[in-house]
Symmetry: C7
């Protein structure tokens, strides 16, 4: 398992079906990077200047929307993950 550090989270990206206006499914290279993901691991949070640790605002299983191009791609056990900082997460989809 991957245990992210600090205010980082590990996510699986969620590919949403993407068609052009004319209905043609685009091959991979023509699509923008995904903006949606599912949280699979959460770090212990960042440390404030008073020594307190701030819990990350998302939980394992949450579906999130994150900034395009944010994070670092990591391959683990043959599967691709993305490691983001909490600040790259825009919103949780409820």
């Amino acid at each position: 398992m991957l245990k992210p550090l600090g205010d980082r989270v590990v996510i699986e990206t969620v590919e949403t079906e993407e068609k052009t206006a004319s209905g043609i499914v685009l091959p991979d290279t023509a699509k923008e990077k995904p903006q949606e993901g599912k949280v699979v691991a959460v770090g212990s949070g960042r440390v404030l200047d008073n020594g307190e640790r701030v819990k990350v605002e998302v939980n394992v299983g949450d579906r999130i929307i994150f900034s395009k191009y944010a994070g670092t791609e990591v391959k683990y056990n043959g599967k691709e993950y993305l490691i983001l900082r909490e600040s790259d997460i825009l919103a949780v989809v409820e």
Copy 2:
């Protein structure tokens, strides 16, 4: 629903009717990006270095003016939203 993180807010942009001096309605590409929006969701606020969370100064339903080009466009349930940071909001229209 979209639940924004930290000091972020989700807004619907409000298009104001735009005419040139001569009264001609301009097509979309000639207009500047909108500067007005309606708040649809508000984050829990940012955390200060003393561990305190600062409530966002706007509420759901507020009409706001925000910096041009600020924020990230997000499509959710076929509708377009903009996710802004509180610092990108200039004023509330009362």
Copy 3:
């Protein structure tokens, strides 16, 4: 009404009559942006790291001098305003 956020203020710019050395009144495009304004609305102030809010140092009705090119122009009810941060205000004219 416009209610500015944080340490922002809304001002009406004050145009000072501008003549060249030879006494010719210049058309609009040849003039520098105004440096003087009247405060019409004041935000609640910025929040310090100890959670305290610092009252903005100017009040509604104050005549102020501000950094050229600072702020964001906003049109509201057919009238032009400028939204500045307190730090863009140089002095109050008393």
Copy 4:
């Protein structure tokens, strides 16, 4: 009167007679900007993160040396002033 905000001060610049090595007085455009001034107004000081305000280290009437090109020129009642931040002041001449 001009009342500067925060840690700003208003000064009158002091022109020191400037001659070239050969004793010729230079016309205005060939001289460097003045580095000396007299304080005519002092702001209330900057606010620290603990909410305390730090008194500006100079007083009205002080003769100061400041960084070349620092500050903003302001014309008030037909007279030119310079508004500086305290951090642009290098030393007081005693």
Copy 5:
């Protein structure tokens, strides 16, 4: 032995067997820099503004994933190490 300062850690990089899609093992120069390492020494942690020292979140022996190109290569006793800051470590592999 190498004892890293502050929030730094010393790691041995772990080369993962790398093949192209066609199954050909690539020579060294064609591979990307490794992203995986084993922690061999840990610093005392960074000091917060309240004087507290924050323990580094990884331990000697941990397998970590770190940002590509992060850190400084150091040769010690004929062996290559990488000295990273804790903030360059993305996750621990458990």
Copy 6:
């Protein structure tokens, strides 16, 4: 006298005799700026975020080594001085 503000110090630069390898004394323009000085005045120190003032670590009369090109040249009573920030001082020569 010059009284520097905050964490600034006023120094007299100390010219060290400079010869090229071949023993020729170089004219002024070919020499690097001096790196050594004698402290002639010390500011009251910078203010921390807790309101405390930190005494400058050097004293009047100290011989110091400072970063090349640091500081601002000031002419006072026909003599040249350099005003440095404490952070530009590398070491005291004892």
Copy 7:
């Protein structure tokens, strides 16, 4: 003696014998700058925002590894030294 200020240290660089793969000793200009040094003097440490001084983590006599190109070269009593900030020191060799 040189007494460094704040979180600075004075070091003597340690030249490690450098040969190319073919065993040829390279002349000085072809070598990289040294990465190893011996601490000869240590400053009093940096001051935190709470007024506390943080002791530098290295001691006189320590052998250290530091970032290439970091620090300022200083000549004192005919000998070359390097003045580094503590943050440029990567590790102590024990």
